[in-house]
Structures are given as structure tokens and as C-alpha cells.
């Protein structure tokens, strides 16, 4: 038992995405009986801050003069390092390469350092690649949400001799599993929640012409780099697509349960997106909402293993339409109920937070 304090350095303001950050910190806090646990989060002005959101864990927002994604990162790193150097926690958790440079500004070595690679480092640029290649001796455990990402990090940074575990992005607890809504009580629609961006998520597929009659409800932020075409189409009234804007994760969890399907799709423009490990995929399965997925390797593996979703053949629009037609065909049938049942089986067996955490237990 550590019996001491723990700090986690987040790369996003919490409560709107990356639920694994507070989940793992809560888990470690109770598991190890830490005296205090603190999560440092960056200042994203558009996201509401609530210090007591995850009590007894304290959430501390680190304010920076510049937006952290537009030049304020260095300041955030230094401020976090200052806090850590002052608090001297026994356990330090770094979430993704964005906050990794903190490790290089510490004036002591925490007893245990866990580097949870939520996103791939190579998306952050040359300096991050170099720093990731220099973590040997500074990190005690590497956690990846997707096994191919771990392989790529070995290729790119030569990680060797550090314990490395793959933990799925499942944050749902078995004890909190709610009753799955029966197919007759569902709204027969598909939900898409996430980034809305033509390059990264193929959002334009949602308002293209399709043969099926399934309506897609879209939730999320329109990315600043989206074209006017995307913005106009999302906001335009369309009988097969409704756009509802951004909602908090907690709200989304309540909404999602009523849907028949959940669409999970990233455009594989880089390795980070090809080897996607989407939270939304696991959340949909946990709610018994059948995922319709692009063929990301992790989605293929899980859907094939549990027969709990519909896989697109590839990333093309035709495949998307084909998958939607299949979805329409099976909705309300015995096969649909079977798949919903398989989702629940997968969750109770493997795709839950407790099962995933057992992989890291032996390294604590």
C-alpha cells in the first residue's frame, strides 16, 4: 500500500471526454488507500470547471495565459511541474504525450510513475517523439488503450524493458450496469457522438443519400477546421439526420440508451486514427446499443469475438451505406436481440473497468 498522495496530469479539462483519466485515478486512490489524489487539468475556457466533480479526488485547473493548444502548452507543463515538485506525490500519472514533458522538469523521482498513452505521441510533433524516446528509467508502467499503438511505440521509440499493458478504454463498472432497454422501446435511430470534422471523422457521410430509413442523431462540436459545406449541412434540416450540438458525457449516457445503434468511425488518416480505441465504442456496448463500426483493428477484434456489432467492410461511403442497410434489416428481429444480449455478455465478461484494471494490478 502506498498510503501517500498521488497526482495525475490530464491533457484535457475533465467531464467532457477521456473518462478513463478520472476512472483510473479513482480506482488507484481507493485500491492503494492514498491519502490524497489530485488531478491537474488544463484550462479550456469553454469547458466548465468543477473542483469537486470527482470527490474525494480534487480537480485542480491550471490556468495559463495562452490557450494550451495554441502556445500555452509549455506554460501548462511548467506550472504542473511546479505543483508536483512542491507536493512530491509518491505516485504520478501522466496522461498522453501532451503532458509527458512534465517528467523532464521534476527535481525528484516519484516512487511510481505511470504513463497512460491515451493518444499516440507522434501526432504531437518532433519534440514529443524525442522525449518519448527518452523515458527509460523515468517510467514504471506504460499503459496503452490499443495493442497496435504499443507496437508502434516500440518501433518509433525503442521502448524496451518497461512493463507494458494494454487496457481497453472501458470505464463502465459492472455494478453500475443499468438494465438494457428492449428493442421495442427504442427509437430505432442511430447516434453519433464525437468530433465533427470531414477529415477526421467522415461526418459528411451522415447527410449523404442512403437507401435505408435509419435516422442519425449527431452530437458534438463542429470542429473549427470543418468546411462551410459541413457546417451548413449539419445545421440544415434533413429527415435522415438531426444535429443536436455538444452535450456533456453524463447527459449523453442517458440519451444513448434509447438508440438502436451507435456509429463509431474515424477516418484512418494517421496511425492514431487507424488504431483508434474509441470510448464511445465501449460505452455503446455497455448500454446495449449495437455499434456500427469502421474496421479499426480493435473494433474488428471485439465485434468478431463477441458478435456484438456491425462492421463496415472498409472506410468508404458505400460500405457505410451497406452497414446502415444491414442495420435496418436486423432491427427488431431475433438477431438484433441476440446482438444486444452479446453486448451485455461482453461487458460482464471483459469489457468493464474492473476486468481491465486487473491487468495493471500486478504492477502497483
Amino acid at each position: 500500500m502506498m498510503g501517500n498522495n498521488m497526482i495525475g496530469v490530464s491533457d484535457v479539462s475533465l467531464g467532457f471526454g477521456s473518462p478513463q483519466i478520472n476512472s483510473i485515478i479513482s480506482y488507484l486512490y481507493f485500491k492503494l488507500g492514498c491519502s490524497t489524489a489530485l488531478i491537474l487539468e488544463p484550462d479550456q475556457p469553454e469547458k466548465k470547471y468543477n473542483m469537486y466533480r470527482y470527490q474525494p479526488i480534487i480537480l485542480k485547473r491550471v490556468y495559463t495565459e495562452e490557450n494550451i493548444y495554441q502556445g500555452g502548452r509549455a506554460e501548462y507543463i511548467r506550472e504542473c511541474a511546479k505543483i508536483i515538485n512542491k507536493e512530491k506525490p509518491d505516485m504520478l500519472l501522466i496522461f498522453c504525450s501532451f503532458t509527458l514533458p512534465v517528467l523532464f522538469y521534476l527535481n525528484y523521482r516519484p516512487r511510481k510513475v505511470i504513463y497512460y498513452n491515451i493518444e499516440m505521441a507522434n501526432a504531437y510533433g518532433k519534440d514529443d517523439i524525442i522525449l518519448n524516446g527518452a523515458i527509460s528509467g523515468k517510467v514504471d508502467l506504460l499503459i496503452y488503450p490499443e495493442e497496435n499503438r504499443a507496437r508502434i511505440d516500440i518501433r518509433d521509440y525503442g521502448h524496451r524493458g518497461m512493463p507494458m499493458v494494454t487496457v481497453y478504454n472501458c470505464t463502465n463498472h459492472v455494478k453500475d450496469l443499468a438494465e438494457v432497454i428492449g428493442s421495442t422501446e427504442r427509437n430505432g435511430k442511430a447516434i453519433y457522438a464525437g468530433k465533427l470534422d470531414q477529415t477526421n471523422t467522415n461526418v459528411h457521410y451522415f447527410f449523404g443519400k442512403r437507401n435505408d430509413k435509419i435516422c442519425i442523431d449527431v452530437f458534438g462540436d463542429i470542429s473549427s477546421c470543418s468546411s462551410d459545406f459541413i457546417k451548413e449541412n449539419l445545421l440544415h434540416i434533413n429527415e435522415k439526420m438531426n444535429f443536436y450540438g455538444y452535450v456533456e458525457n453524463q447527459k449523453l449516457q442517458i440519451i444513448r440508451k434509447k438508440y438502436a445503434y451507435s456509429i463509431v468511425m474515424w477516418n484512418p488518416v494517421n496511425e492514431n486514427q487507424l488504431y483508434a480505441a474509441p470510448n464511445k465504442f465501449f460505452e455503446a456496448i455497455a448500454d446495449g446499443v449495437i455499434p456500427i463500426c469502421a474496421p479499426h483493428p480493435q473494433c474488428i477484434k471485439i465485434i468478431k469475438k463477441y458478435d456484438c456489432g456491425i462492421l463496415m467492410k472498409d472506410w468508404s461511403y458505400d460500405s457505410f451505406c451497406e452497414a446502415m442497410t444491414l442495420a435496418e434489416r436486423i432491427y427488431g428481429t431475433q438477431r438484433y436481440s441476440e446482438m444486444v444480449g452479446n453486448c451485455r455478455k461482453a461487458v460482464t465478461k471483459e469489457l468493464n473497468f474492473e476486468s481491465q484494471m486487473q491487468y495493471i494490478e500486478k504492477y502497483l
Binding site: 495565459e65 519534440d127 516500440i154
Partner: protein, 676 residues
Amino acid sequence: MSKFILIDQSIRGNGGHYLEYATNVLNEAKKMGYCVGLATNKDFHEKAPWDVFPIYKYDIWGSTGKKKVSFYKTRSLAAKIRRVLVLERSKFHFSLMGQFLTFFKRRDFSASIKTFGKFGFLSQLGICVSGAILLLLFMLYKIIKGVYNLICKTPLLGGLIHKFAMFMQKIRTFMVKALKQMKRVIHYRSWEKNFYKSTRKTIEHFQIGAGDIIFIPTLAVPDMSAVAKCIHVSKPAQKASWHMIFRRNMFQGREPVYSFDDIEVKAFRKALLYFKNLTEQWDNAFFYTDTERLTAQYEYLNIYNFSTLPIPIDPDLQKNKFPQNSGPITLTYLGDARREKGYQFLNSIVDELWEEYIVPKKIDFNIQSNYTFCDIKSNYDVVYAMDQLSLYDSSAVKMCNRSMGGKEYADFVAQGNIGLLFYDRENYYARSSGALIECICTGMPVIVPSASWLAIDVDRQNYRYIDSLKANLEMCVFFDSEWMTAQAYQEKEAANISCLFENGILSFSDYDNRVVKICELVEHAAYLTISYKIFSLIQCGNYVRTKIILKDKYGLVVDEFQSDNFIENEKVNILYPVKADTYTAEIYMWAAFYKQPIKITDIQIEFWNSDHEIPLGSYGLVYSNEADITPLLRNMIDFYADYRNAAIKQAKRYNQYHTAENLVKTLALGEAYDGK
């Protein structure tokens, strides 16, 4: 008494099975009445029951086995300094100064001024002074650059400067190339010279004479040239017979891409011609390989005839005792931890079989995990697999991390029940795998990659097995004609149906021109068989790839499977189980590796009833797609007794052929032993 001398310049110790091979052959030669001797690398210091002459400096790879200490040390020190500097630069990026400079470079002056305000007075002064100095230096640089550009723009002077610069560049490139080439030539000469001198000494040491056999089981081009010179100048060498075996690929890829323009092939052909010119008059050199495909490769050169030798394995493994297995079935991976040997697939296989088979102690794994590579970059998935495998309970997933030799290795093989040989099918298309022979000789069922040398016999036996199986199954649906192009199917056009199928012959080409057969209403069928004969194929080396996609009545994929097949003059048979909810089967066919027209005939697609499950193969199974390994393994584990019985039958056949005795007899006769 005639002598049998084995030269293996690569024997330094127990590693790499070189010593085992030599031991097996020499033991047998001794039994057959020869006076035996072994010439090895000069680093070999082990004791042996025969005369050992450690003399050779270079091994088969041209390596002396010693690192060039000074060069590597310098490079490593330079690399270390570079790494530290690069790291410091990256860290600097996140410092206050780094942030200030980033804003400054971006010309975000308001952010720069804000950041500047955070520095102390002395730092601010320092920044101002250094800024002023840098500005001066920058101006100076601009002035010099301006003057230089002005001179270059002057017609005569500028042109001359430019031409001089280009000339110097060419000289530099030429010098670098020449130096590299020279280094290679010097190394080659030294290697050849050393082999020549060492072989002369070997001839003297063993007092070689008429009727003696000199066997070189592995050799490179410089070694071959050196042997030619020896025979040319040494009278005793001219009286003995020389037997050389080539076990590596000469051509890369398969027949359709065999190229005589390949630099390695050219060098080899030249060396073989040189050999022939120097030694033709004595006619005492014999060349071998250890697979039919390699023999065909080397005979493409049209210089010498090559024969195929058996692969002698450890006699301890050939005792023909096949004990009944009690306890868990041991799945054994043979070969070191390397990508070429498919080590990277192991962790997901273990993961997939964990709950159903490993936890209830139905199976366990024995994995040879020693590795020799230093380059993590190109073996990253192997490193990952090793890390992940080490997380499992070591009593269920045993990893042997050291290099094994002799008895230890034989014991390791003998403990196995199923051989996992996931070798790279491109590299092992023609060359042999000793591990496969070891597995079969010990009665171990195997799982091997399709379209490789390893699959030839497994495929052949499986085709026969499926033929015999059909007699005991009840057929429920039968399909013969009406194929269409995949493109027509996708576009829902049935117009192109008939033109594909003429006089019972189906034609297709590569993936883009694949054909598809849709079999509907196959409910209640338990198994699917596809059989056909190759009618014509432009060239060997291409395979028919068959992909089976089973769908339910909604169109959801229930299961899929892929198979690569090609056997000359024999009927191809594919067997695959049909899952309960299957409603349609889509069968696609195309040329697997090259864009070539293929014609097949006697196509039969049959669905069979069965109230019980059956083994899918005889003594082994062949996978085309890595994703199919685990389902095939499940079948092999579930029907282990059947596979084992078939494997034991094969073992008896293999044990008769792959012996050191047959090898020595072949060498003594100077022709291939007909014991197959």
C-alpha cells in the same frame, strides 16, 4: 579407409544447429566405415569424438564474429552525445525561454512581450544583449549572402563557381561510392583468400586423397570460388570428391518474378561459371540443395545439375516411439523469436485460447524465445509479443529465452504435441525448414503457412483426406456452374455470368478480376467442400486464392476463411465448417500473388450434413490468413487424437527418408538417393 571430411566454417559453438547437423552426418559416416574429420571455424573449442580442425576465419555470412570495437565505440559515443543534445533541445522547447522564442518565431509579439515580462531583470538584460548580438550576426550573414549571390549572378564568375561546386559534389559522391565498393572488394578478397588457405591446410591436415569425400553443408560465393582454386591447384583435392549444398534462396519471390538481373543471382552465376571453368576437367564437384524447389531454382542457371538431399535430423528424435499424451497438449513454437518465423502472432493466439483451453489446462505453450536481433525497429511486433507473453502464467506459457543446442533442443522438440510454424511464406517458398521435419518425425501435427515449402506435403495429404472423407458424409446441396465477376456481383449485374465458364473451365486473374459464386439456401449444412483441378497456369509459383464468406439471412458475416492452393496434377480440396446460422456462402477466387490468368476445371462446391464435428485436415493444417490460425488450432486441439494418428503415419515415412544415412549414401553414390 576412405575419409569423410565435413567443412563447416560457421561452427563456432552449439548455436544455429550447424554442429548438430555435422554431428548427425559424421556419426553416420563413421558408422558406414569412413574415417571422419571436421574442419570448423577457428573459434570452435569444443571436444568431439573425431578429429576437429578449427581453421576458418570467416563464417557463411563473411563475419569473423568479432565486433570492430573502435568503430562502434566511436559511433556509440557520437550517438550518445547527439542524443543528449537533441533531448536538451526538446526539453528547452518547454522552458520559459523556449516558449518566448516560439512566440517570437511565430511573430506573435503580444504573447512574446507577455512572456518576456516573466523573466527576471538579469535574464531580460541577457536576452536584450544576446538579441542585439544575434541581430548583428544575422545582418552580417545577410550581407555576406547578398555579396555571394551577386557574384554568382555575374555571368562568367558565377558560372565558374557553380560548375566548380557541382564538380566537387560529383567527386565527393564518386569517392564515397568508390570507398564503399573498395571496402567490399577487400573484404571479399580477404574472405576468399582465407577460405582458400584454410581449405589447403585442411587438405593437408586430413591428408585427403583418392576416394575421399569432402562435404561442405553451407557455403557462400567467396567460399565456392576458393574451393574452385583449391581443386585447380591441389593434386590431392583433384582426387577427392567435393560435395556442396546450397540451402538458401537464390531467387527472391516465386517463379513469375525470378530475375537473372538480380545482382546476387548475377554474382552467383558468375562464380559458378568460374568454378566450372577451373574444375571441369576433374569432374569431381557435386552440388545439392535440400528441397525440390531450391534445386529447380539453382538449375535455372543451366550450369550444373543439382540434386536434392534429405534433411538429417537428430537421431534421438527419430526413435519412432510415439508416447500417448497424458496431461495438457503442448503447443510448441520452434525457431528463435523473429518476425520471419512468425513469433509476433503468438501473443494473440495465447490470448484467444486462454479461457477456453489454457485455463482448464487442456493445453499449454512451449515457446522458443531466444533472440539474436539488435534492431528493435524492424522487430517491434516481436518485442511486443515477447513482452506480452511474459505476462502470462509461466507454467502455462513457458518461454525458453536461451539458445539451445544438442540434447536440450531435442528434448524441447520431443516435449511438443503440436508444432506451430508460422514461417514467412515468401522467404520459405523454396527453402526448407528443419523444424518442420523435426515436428513431423516426432509425430507432431503441425500448422503451417499456405503457399510455402512447409505446406506442400500438408496440402497434399489434406486433399487426399478430404476426398476420403466425402464418402462418409451425406451431401445436402451441390453447385457446379454459374460464376460471375465480383464486379458484376457488386453492381448487381448478372450479365457477365456465362462468359466466365466455358466448356467447364473457369477463368480468372488477380484480385481486381476475381470471380464469385453465390450459394444460397444452405441452411442445415455442416460442412462445405470446394474442389477443382488446375487446368492451366502460365507459370508455377502462382496460387489460386479462395475466400469463403458465410453470411446469415440478414447479410451479416457469420464467418470467413481464406485458402491458397496449387498442386500440379492433383485435385485441390478445401474443407470448411459451416456455422449454424449460415444462409449464403460467397466463394471468391483469384490469383493469389501475381496478375496472371488462371484456368480451373472440375469445380465442385458441395455442402454436407453431419451430426458431429470432424477434423479439418490430416496431420496438419494450412492457414492463408493469420486470422485463421486460432480457429484452425481449435479444431486441431479438439481432434488431437486424429491428427496425432495421422502424424504418426507421416512420421514413419519421413523418418525413413530424412536420415543422415540417406544423405551419406547419396554423397557416396554421387546421385540422389531414391528412398522417397
